[in-house]
């Protein structure tokens, strides 16, 4: 998996379609490693992280707290534990914002944008280390209903029929978050791409990328309501416009 990820990252660089970030940091690391920050894996969409706990409440409801590291932060398997990875302050060229799923004094457990899906880690939460904010938004995706619903402060902003992954490349379920907002220089199928923290469970790489799942638009309307994608969620233009206003780090709940 790590090799595939690195190859994918290299392909990204060669194709010139990266998001402005070095994707070649996705090396794996064994449990218990306590290297210096410089040689720890970076928690990006390109990485596969080992030794960190998985989200034990993948269908729980996050409270909307999001944090942005002011500088790269160590990630530990438990509050105060040895660092196993680094959370960079940028993801795909934009600021890193991740949702908090558990808190202890001085520490936050956050969802991470790396493989495996549902990977989490503990980062320091003091004000000198992170900016803490709150998102009112929540995105819900019902894969079997092929429907996306956007909520603001618990109230429905809109609900749309969407295209989801097909049976061989399903959209992964569980909670994740909006990780980035990208404006492709050549908008061949969508003016915006909103990658989330999750990855395809069946594709290690796709199109030269690391198999990241995203919300994006689609030129034709005939796909909405169908299971036809490689894992991404294709949404109508109105939904994309609304989703693009939701802060980075906004929780995304994907249910079967």
């Amino acid at each position: 998996m790590a090799a595939a990820t690195v190859i994918a990252a290299a392909a990204m660089v060669m194709a010139g379609c990266g998001g402005g970030e070095n994707g070649g940091t996705g090396t794996s690391r064994g449990t218990g490693g306590a290297g210096t920050p410089g040689d720890l894996p970076q928690a990006t969409t390109y990485a596969t992280l080992k030794g960190l706990p998985l989200d034990d409440q993948p269908f729980g409801r996050a409270d909307g707290t999001v944090v942005r590291p002011k500088a790269p932060l160590p990630i530990s398997a438990q509050a105060g534990g040895p660092p196993l990875a680094t959370l960079p302050d940028k993801q795909l060229g934009g600021p890193t914002w991740v949702p908090v799923v558990e808190s202890r004094a001085g520490w936050s457990r956050v969802l991470l944008p790396s493989r495996p899906n549902r990977v989490t880690g503990w980062i320091p939460s003091s004000p000198d280390k992170v900016r803490t904010a709150r998102t009112r938004h929540l995105v819900k995706v019902d894969v079997s209903d092929r429907r996306l619903t956007l909520l603001d402060s618990g109230r429905e902003v809109g609900s749309w029929r969407v295209a989801v992954g097909d049976v061989k490349t399903p959209t992964p379920i569980g909670r994740t978050f909006i990780m980035a907002s990208l404006a492709p220089p050549k908008a061949t199928y969508s003016p915006l791409i909103l990658p989330v923290g999750a990855h395809s469970e069946t594709l290690d790489t796709f199109g030269g990328g690391p198999g990241t799942v995203a919300f994006h638009g689609w030129p034709g309307k005939d796909v909405f309501g169908k299971a036809v994608t490689h894992g991404c969620v294709r949404v109508p233009a109105d939904a994309l416009a609304r989703l693009s206003k939701a802060p980075l780090g906004t929780p995304v709940e994907i249910v079967a």
Partner: protein, 243 residues
């Protein structure tokens, strides 16, 4: 419980007098979580040892006190477990003060031995003290600066890490001093965390001092509700996603 501040000698004497069954904490924490001692309304709290992970050891002994009296407990041994041994463990807590100590500690798997490990917290300030503490044969100095980290790689086990004189202040301004927090790998993806001698207290100044509910003022202003996260600005770029 009698009000008293125990000297080390008294602790030793008390340890002999108190059978284990009589002093196990009535409010031991769930095995899956480190004890969140420092409960609101309790002015001081302390415990000798707690462990989480594959081997769970409840906080032993564990005390808390919000009243004017100091509450102390000592035990002569730990609950049966395969990784830790200690001869005497003491914890005491009172209004705005707490202390904990562990004597003759051995954690063979981590190659850790200690003559004495102690933590003290008084009016929101504290520190730790170590006597004859050695990790893999290397002696650790008696007084460590707060939150000092030590790591050692042990063949067949992995990296064992220690945080010495760990000091964490919660959002109410209460300080927790843990003399040693040890993390050791116990298999792929599994770690054990052992907290040794931990004391929590608040500043305890300028407050109603009665036995009812002395509230300690936060050392830092209470944090304001978090701001609204900003709407994102799209970044020029592309990522091949699973379209």
């Amino acid at each position: 419980m009698r009000s008293q501040v125990l000297s080390r000698a008294a602790v030793l004497a008390g340890a002999v007098a108190l059978p284990l069954a009589a002093v196990l904490p009535a409010h031991a924490q769930p095995a899956h979580a480190l004890p969140e001692h420092g409960v609101r309304g309790a002015s001081g709290s302390a415990y000798g040892i707690a462990a989480t992970g594959p081997v769970a050891v409840p906080a032993t002994p564990s005390v808390s006190s919000s009243g004017p009296n100091t509450v102390s407990r000592s035990v002569a041994e730990l609950p049966p477990n395969p990784i830790l041994k200690a001869r005497v463990l003491n914890a005491s807590a009172g209004k705005a003060r707490a202390r904990a100590s562990v004597v003759d500690l051995r954690i063979p798997k981590a190659h850790l031995t200690a003559g004495l490990v102690a933590a003290k917290c008084v009016q929101g300030k504290g520190g730790s003290h170590l006597v004859k503490v050695a990790l893999n044969g290397k002696v650790i100095k008696a007084a460590a600066t707060p939150n000092s980290a030590v790591g050692v790689h042990l063949d067949g086990l992995g990296t064992v890490s220690l945080v010495l004189n760990k000091q964490v202040r919660d959002r109410h301004g209460r300080l927790t001093v843990t003399a040693i927090e040890l993390t050791l790998p116990l298999g792929p993806g599994t770690t054990e965390t052992i907290s040794i001698a931990s004391a929590t207290c608040g500043a305890g100044k300028g407050l109603p001092g009665g036995p009812g509910e002395p509230q300690t003022p936060p050392a830092t202003p209470p944090s304001a509700p978090p701001d609204e996260a900003p709407a994102p600005t799209p970044v020029p770029g592309d990522l091949p996603v699973t379209g």
